[in-house]
């Protein structure tokens, strides 16, 4: 189970450049669906990789679903060599994504984000239109219901106040 506040506090305190996507982003916009992990798109510039490593060092990041005891090193070389990482941590399940289908990398998504404030922190979250677009682009049958809910959220949100 992800500890959303603690994860965000840790990452924001280390000034990690990130964008909230996925189920938690849907929650930010008003979704009633429950998600059990936190999906984040992270900037892959060298400085941000260093900050990300520092932020989660000590939180025991490890590939989710992998057998225990593998020689997994949480360092910049590992991040540089890969792109998307599905991790377990002491703070819960965390997906660190270098890019997402239909959306691209951090720099591509940044113009399509909004700043949200929670727990005294400011962080960036994918906007609703782009969230719908990337969900469609993912093309997974399981996302159809999520897409439907996001469309309903958009309708309800854009209704004039009664």
């Amino acid at each position: 189970m992800i500890k959303i506040q603690e994860v965000l506090e840790t990452l924001v305190r280390h000034q990690v450049e990130l964008i909230i996507v996925g189920g938690v982003a849907a929650t930010v916009h008003g979704s009633a669906r429950v998600t059990q992990d936190l999906d984040l798109v992270y900037a892959r510039n060298e400085a941000n990789l260093v900050r990300l490593i520092a932020a989660l060092r000590g939180r025991r990041p490890y590939p989710r679903g992998a057998p225990p005891g593998l020689p997994f090193r949480w360092d910049v070389d590992t991040l540089r060599s890969g792109l998307n990482f599905t991790l377990t941590t002491d703070l819960g399940d965390l997906d660190l994504l270098g890019e997402i289908p239909g959306g691209g990398a951090y720099e591509d998504l940044l113009p399509h984000t909004l700043e949200v404030e929670a727990y005294g922190l400011r962080c960036r979250c994918l906007d609703l239109e782009t969230l719908i677009r990337v969900k469609r682009a993912a093309g997974r049958p399981r996302d159809l219901e999520a897409i439907a809910e996001l469309l309903v959220i958009r309708e309800e949100r854009d209704k004039p106040d009664e």
Binding site: M1, I4, T27, R44, L144, L151, E156
Partner: protein, 251 residues
């Protein structure tokens, strides 16, 4: 169009307008109001600048910093045709009922010609114009960085037609040999109208809107705390079920 291409395109348009190849980042930011200003500056000053510090693993060799606050388009790119030269064909392709759509985004582009090689003056290329059309009080307003002020009309078709005419006129004035043009309209509907997806529509019918409305009354933090609460509750229930199965197994 990726942001780096749009930044280059904006720089080329600005520089050609003043017949010089230097510009300031603020000019690019101002010409791309729909993009995040910080991202635009990052691209001008770092990701697309050949003599910037190497903060990014991948860069595009578009500009050079010549002095504080002044950047220059590199010579190999100066003959490149601006991507934002817009032309579009007829308005065929608009979805039925498009005029009733509260909000639409239309993209008019020019495809690379696929006809057999023609006369020498035919030229392949690609240009794109993004135009956002909104309905306001029964009138339609088209807004684009290319046309200021916006274009208004009483119907979606008339606004699109005027945008097309203006785009053709701009292209004609820009000079150069004639090109074969085709149009591609991509229609993105606003609330209440979505490109048909029967499965999504079927799911949408069963969405409990009372839950959505309840969530929309909450702040972002309250929504996240509600999610956290549910996640913890589910965790507890799952644990209880597991303990229950273990206990049943023992008896």
């Amino acid at each position: 169009m990726p942001i780096h291409a749009r930044v280059l395109d904006a720089a080329l348009r600005i520089c050609r307008g003043r017949r010089g190849w230097t510009f300031r980042p603020a000019e690019i930011v101002a010409s791309l109001p729909e993009l995040n200003a910080s991202s635009v500056r990052t691209h001008v000053m770092s990701r697309c600048c050949v003599n910037a510090p190497p903060h990014h693993p991948h860069r595009w060799p578009y500009f050079r910093r010549v002095e504080r606050g002044v950047y220059q388009v590199l010579p190999p790119l100066r003959k490149r045709r601006s991507e934002a030269s817009p032309v579009a064909g007829p308005t065929a392709g608009l979805a039925p009922g498009a005029a009733r759509t509260p909000r639409a985004v239309q993209e008019m582009g020019r495809r690379t010609p696929v006809a057999p090689p023609g006369p020498d003056h035919m030229r392949a290329g690609r240009a794109l114009l993004s135009v956002e059309v909104r309905e306001r009080g029964g009138r339609y307003v088209a807004a684009s960085a290319e046309f200021a002020p916006g274009i208004e009309g009483t119907s979606l078709e008339s606004v699109v037609s005027r945008v097309v005419s203006l785009a053709r006129e701009r292209l004609r004035k820009a000079g150069g040999p004639p090109v074969r043009l085709s149009a591609e309209l991509r229609f993105e509907a606003g609330p209440g109208l979505e490109p048909s997806d029967p499965l999504v529509a079927a799911y949408a019918k069963d969405i409990d809107r009372t839950l959505i409305r309840e969530n929309l009354r909450l702040s972002v933090e309250e929504r996240l705390e509600k999610l956290q609460g549910w996640a913890e509750a589910m965790d507890e229930i799952r644990g209880a079920a597991w303990r229950s199965r273990r206990g049943a197994g023992k008896t």
